[in-house]
Symmetry: D2
C-alpha cells in the first residue's frame, strides 16, 4: 500500500476490503510521505516491510522473489500517476483509488502503460461493487428496459457547505480542495466522476457530448464545489448529471435512474439493498439482492437471502467485542468499556427462559406465565 | 471453529466477521461431524490444524502452548452445550451461535460454567452489533424516550412457508425443523429468540410474564413455524412479539419499536442504516449512523459519514475481482468471467475525459462539447 | 345531521364527504344538544331547517313530503342507538359514525331494526373507502394471496399519551375518555374497532376466538388507552391486533398486513396511495391506485392516473383562495391574507417567459439565455 | 365553466374542487365547442344555464343581474386567452387552467387586461395548493434553510412514452400533442411549467438565465416530450429542471428539492403528506401537515391531525355508496354492485362483538374467548 497512513481515511477502507474476502494479505507499505509517520503507521498495522519512499518500495518489491503481487495506491490524486508508473514498471499489479489522475493526458499514459506491461490496473469505483448495481447493469444489457432514453444521475454531499478547509483542521478537506494535490477538478473529480462512472457502468453508454457548468459556492475555495451538466448520447438518449458538495443535508446521496423504452431502473447507494424496476405504465418492483436471479449479483453476494449488506459488519462487531474481552481477560485487565455490549451466555439463558415460558404458556392455552429469574 | 464445513451457512459468515476487523485468525477446526468433510473443508480454508472430532480438538488445543484463544461454535443447536463445555473445560474462550442451547437447564449450566472458568462466552446475537441498534439502546438508557411503555417486536420470514424440509434438499431447513437437532423450539428458537433479545437489548427491560401461542402451519412439520405472544413488564409496560417463518413475502423482517412516555424509536434490520426517533406529538427524525453523536455507534463504525453499511462489501468486491484477475494474469489464464466487472484504468481514462469536457464546456459558458474518444 | 355543531370534529368531515361527490345536500340538522349552539351552527351552515332536538327532527322530517332521505349521526357514541332508532322509525335512512353503539345488545337491536324497517344503515368505517383497501379486499377474494394464514393489524396514535382530558380544554379527549359518553371501551372502541373492521374487510375473515388485554397507562383515565389481542380464525389462521393511543410519536398509524399461502399484502393508511403485494419468495410490488386493474379501485377513483389522493384537496384550496379573493374584490375589501398564495395570471406570464426562454435556448443549441422581465 | 364536457378530464376535477369547500356553485356553462355535446353535458350536470358558445355565455352572463361571479376555463390551451378576454371584458372573474396561454405576448396581454379590469385571475397551478408546499414556501421565506443555493426540480411521467396520439383513441394525448391546440410547447408547456412554477413558489426565486434543450423521443410526434435545463439565479444560486413524458415507469413524479446555506427541503407530490427538512450536517426531519406549526399549512388543512390528504375522498366514498343504496332502496331496485362495499350496521354489530370479547378476555386475565355469532 502506498499512502493510507495514520489519519487517512480511504486507506483503512481499502485494508478492510482487501481482508474481507481473504483475497489479499497486506505485507508491505510506504504509508506516508512523512517518513516518521510511515514507520509508525506500518508498525501499528504490523507490516512485514515498511518503506519511507514509494519509489524505493517499487524497486525493492519488484526485485524480491516473494515481493508483493499488487499495490494499493491511496495517496492524494496528484501522485496516482507517478506511483502507478513506478509499480507497473516494476512488474506489479495496480489497485488505484479514483480519480485515476489529474489530467486526461496523464490518464491515457497510464492506460497505455498498463497495456504494455500487461498489468491488471484496478480502479476502485466502489459503487460498481454493489450486487444490485451489477444486477442493474446486467438487466440493461439484457434489454429488460428496452433502449436507453434518459439517464439521470446525481451525487450530493454537504460536508463542504461551509469553508471547512480554511481552518486547517480537516485533513480530508485540505487536500481535496487544494488544486496542487487534487487536480483542477474539485467536486467534479472527487464525486462527479463517481456519478459519471456509475451511469456508464449501468446504462452501458458513455455520453457523446455535454454542456456543463462548474461553480464554486464557498468564497475563497480554490476548486469547484458544484457541477451541473446536460448529456447527449450517440443513440439519441439524453441525460443530466448533478454533483454537489454543498447540498445541505445530503450525506452521500449518489442516485441513478435509467429510463428505457420499456422500463426504468433506480438505485440509491444510501439504500444499497434495493433496486427499483418499473415497467412503462406499470407498477414499481422492489428488487433485493437475495431474490434477484442473476450471475453478477450472485457473484457479489456474501450473505444469505434476507440479510442486508451491513450484516457482516454487525457480525464482525461482535467478534471485535469478543476479541477485546478475551485479550483483556487473558491479560487480567478489566473489560474494555467499548466491548461491553457483547452478547454473552447470560443473554442465552434469557433466551431459553423466553423459549420455555412461551412453550409453557402455549401449552396452557395461552395463559399468562411468569418468567422466573 | 466447530461446525461450519462445506454446505453450512453461518460458519462462512462467522469467518468473514472474524476477519473483517483483523480480530482473529482462523487456525484450527473440527468443521464437520463427518470426518471426510471435516478434512476437505479444512483444506479448502487452508487451516493449520484440522480435527475429525471436536472433543479431540478441545483436548489438544487446550494443551498446546500456542493453541487457540477462542472457539467459534457453529454447529446445529443440540451440540452447542456439549461443545462449549468441552472447550471451557480446556480453558478456551467461547464464541457461540444462538440459540445458546436446547433447554433452559442446559443454558443455565453453561452460564454457571462460564463464571466458574472465567471464560468469555460470546453469543452471537448479530443484530446487537449494528451501530444504530447500539445507539438506540444508549438513547433509551439516557432517558431520551422517557419511561418505556410499549414494546412491539416482530421477526418475519417466508422461507419455511412451504414444506421445504420434506424433500431433503435444503440442509438448512432439514436440521432447523428437526427437534432432535434444533431443540423443541422451531421458529421460536431460531428467530423468536433474536426478536426477544433485540427488544431486551434496546429497551433495557425483560418481560415479567407472557401469554403465548406457538403454532405449526405447514402440515407434517415437527416444530413450530409461528409464534405470537403478549408481554407484561415489571414497570407496567406492555408488549407484543411475533415471529413467523411462513410470512409470505417477508425476507428477514426483524423490526423493533419501543414507545416511551416522551418519544419512540423504530429500527428495521433490513434498513440498518437508519433509526427513527419521534417525540410525543412531534415529527419523525431519521437518525443515521454517521450523524448521531454517541459512543456506541462510534465504536461500531468502520466507514466515514455518508457511507452505508454494506459499502465495505462493495469495496471488497473490487478487491476480490482484482485478486481473481491478478491470479489469472500471473498464471497466464484468461480473465475469470465473474471478475469482469472490475473497474480499471480504462474507466479512469473515461473519467478524465469527462472531467476535461466539463471544464471545457463550463469555460465556454456551457456550450455543448464533444467528448472525444 | 344530528350532532356536528360548532367545535365538533367529525361532523365537518361528514359534511365535506357528503358534498364531494354531489351525493347529498345538507338541508336539516339538530347540530347540538345545546339549543343555542344548535341554532348558531345551523345558521353558520345555512341549513334550511334547524331543530333544537333530534327527536323532534326525526318526527317532523319523517312526516314532511320533502323531508330528508337520510340522517348523518355524528354524536358521541352513547346517543347513536337512540338517535338511529328514532330516525329509522320515521322511515329515514341512516349514516352513522362508528362505533355503532356502546354495547353488543344495543348494536344487535339496531341491526334487527334496520332489517325490519328496510332502511339503509351505513356505518362510516372510513378506511374501507380507500381505493386500495377495496382493491386489497378484491385481491384476497380472488385468491391472489392464497389461503389466509396470518393477519397483523395495528392502530397507533399518541394524542392521549398525556392526561389531556384532565384540564377540560380538549373536547375530543373529554368525551372520548368518559365512559358515560363513549361507552366502556376507550381506545378499544375508538380505534380498536377500526383496526378490527379493516382486518375483516380485507382478509374476508372474522376471528373465531381471541385472547386479549386492555390496559390504561395514564393515571386517572377512566377508560382503556391500550389494547393488545391475539386472534384465532376458523380456518386455522392466526393474528394479532394492537391499538394504542399512548404510542408516542404515532399520528394515525393504522396498518394492516395479511399473509396468505402464496403472497402477502400490506397497507398503511398514512400512505394510502400505495399497496404492497409480495409473493412467497418474491419481490415486493408497489401497487398504486391508478395502475391496478380492478373494479373496486376504479369505482372509488376520482382523479386520473398519477395523481395521489389529496390532489383534490390541493385543487380545492385554489378554488377556496379564488373565492375569497373574488368575494373581497366584489366587496371592495383588501385581499384576505390567507388567500394570498393563489396562483394568478402573473404566474402564468412567468410560465410563458420560461417556455419561450427554453425554446430559444434549445434553438440556439443550449446557449444560456436571459429570462427578461 | 367553459370546456369540461363529457370525455374531458380536468373539468371534472375543477368541479369537485369547487364543491369541496362549498366555495362555488356551478350554474352555467359552455361545456363543449360541439353544441350537442355541450347540451348533453350540461344536462348531465344539472346546469341551470347551458350555452352553445362561450362568446354568447360571456355576453349573456355579464349582463344578467344574477350572472356568474367567476368562470372556470378548462379548454385546450389555445383558447385560454380568447375566452379569458371575453369574460374579463364582461366583468367576470377568471379561474383558468394552466398553461395560461400559448405565447408570452398572449399571456402578457392577459395580465395587463386583468389589471385594467380589476378581475381576479386565478391560474390553477394545483401543486401550490398542498398544505406542505405552502408550508415549505413559508419556511424558506422565514430563512429556515438560509440563503438558497441549489434548486433541483423534476416532473416525470410515462404516459407519452409510446405514440399513443397516433391511433386517435386517446383524446388527452391528441390535443396535448397537437401544436395547433396545445401551443408550440408540448411536455414543456404541459408539465415543465408546473415544475418551474413549483420551484419558484417554494424557493421564492425565479431564474435569471437558463440553458436548455427540448427533445422529441417518439418518432412522428409534433411537440417536444422531454425538456432539460440548467438554471442560474440572480443571487448566484444554480439549478436544474427536468421534465419528461417518456420516463418509463413514472406516474406523476413532480419532485422539488431546495438547498440553502443552512438546510434543505424536499417534497414529492406523489407523497404529499410529508415534507423533508434536513439541516446542514444534520438528520432528516419528516414534517407532516398536522404537526407543522405554520399559518399556510393550517389554512389549507381540512382534516385533523393524523389523517392524510385523501382521507376525505375515502370518507366521501362511503357517502357515495350510501347514496347509491338509498336511491336504489327508495326506487325498489337491487343494491347497485359498485356500492356493495359500504360498511353497515352489520359491521357495527361485528365491532361490538369484538369489543365485548376483548373486555371479557381481558377481565379473565387474557384467557382465550370465543366470539359468538
Amino acid at each position: 500500500m502506498v499512502g493510507g497512513g495514520e489519519g487517512a481515511f480511504i486507506g483503512a477502507v481499502h485494508r478492510i476490503a482487501a481482508r474481507l474476502d481473504d483475497a489479499f494479505e497486506l505485507v508491505a507499505g510506504a504509508l506516508s510521505s512523512d517518513a516518521l509517520r510511515a514507520r509508525s503507521s506500518a508498525e501499528a498495522l504490523g507490516l512485514a516491510r515498511s518503506y519511507d519512499d514509494w519509489r524505493e518500495m517499487a524497486r525493492v518489491e519488484g526485485a524480491l522473489e516473494e515481493g508483493i503481487d499488487a499495490v494499493a495506491i491511496v495517496t492524494p490524486n496528484h501522485l496516482h500517476a507517478s506511483v502507478a508508473h513506478a509499480f507497473m514498471d516494476a512488474g506489479i499489479h495496480i489497485i488505484c483509488d479514483k480519480p485515476l489522475a489529474v489530467s486526461l493526458a496523464e490518464s491515457e499514459a497510464l492506460a497505455r502503460r498498463a497495456r504494455e506491461t500487461q498489468r491488471v490496473f484496478a480502479l476502485t469505483h466502489t459503487y460498481s461493487g454493489y450486487p444490485l448495481v451489477r444486477h442493474a447493469r446486467e438487466m440493461v444489457a439484457a434489454g429488460e428496459i428496452g433502449e436507453v432514453r434518459v439517464v439521470q444521475v446525481e451525487y450530493a454531499q454537504d460536508w463542504l457547505a461551509l469553508p471547512v478547509e480554511q481552518d486547517g483542521a480537516n485533513r480530508q478537506a485540505n487536500w481535496r480542495t487544494d488544486p496542487a494535490l487534487a487536480g483542477p477538478a474539485g467536486c467534479l473529480g472527487d464525486i462527479g466522476t463517481h456519478a459519471y462512472q456509475l451511469a456508464a457502468f449501468v446504462s452501458g453508454h458513455v455520453p457523446q457530448a455535454l454542456a456543463a457548468e462548474v461553480h464554486t459556492f464557498v468564497p475563497g475555495r480554490r476548486v469547484d464545489d458544484h457541477v451541473q451538466a446536460m448529456l447527449r448520447y450517440a443513440n439519441g438518449a439524453r441525460g443530466m448529471l448533478w454533483a454537489s458538495q454543498v447540498a445541505s443535508g445530503a450525506e452521500n446521496a449518489l442516485r441513478l435512474r435509467v429510463y428505457g423504452t420499456k422500463a426504468s431502473l433506480a438505485f440509491d447507494q444510501e439504500a444499497p439493498n434495493e433496486l427499483w424496476f418499473t415497467p412503462q405504465g406499470g407498477e414499481a418492483l422492489r428488487l433485493t439482492r437475495a431474490r434477484v436471479n442473476g450471475a453478477a449479483a450472485r457473484d457479489a453476494t456474501r450473505v444469505p437471502a434476507g440479510h442486508p449488506e451491513g450484516y457482516l459488519e454487525a457480525f464482525a462487531q461482535l467478534y471485535r467485542d469478543a476479541a477485546a474481552q478475551i485479550r483483556a481477560r487473558d491479560a487480567g485487565e478489566p473489560v474494555p468499556p467499548e466491548s461491553r455490549l457483547l452478547t454473552t451466555v447470560d443473554d442465552g439463558v434469557e433466551g431459553l427462559r423466553f423459549i420455555e415460558a412461551v412453550l409453557a404458556s402455549s401449552a396452557a392455552n395461552g395463559a399468562w406465565r411468569e418468567i422466573g429469574r
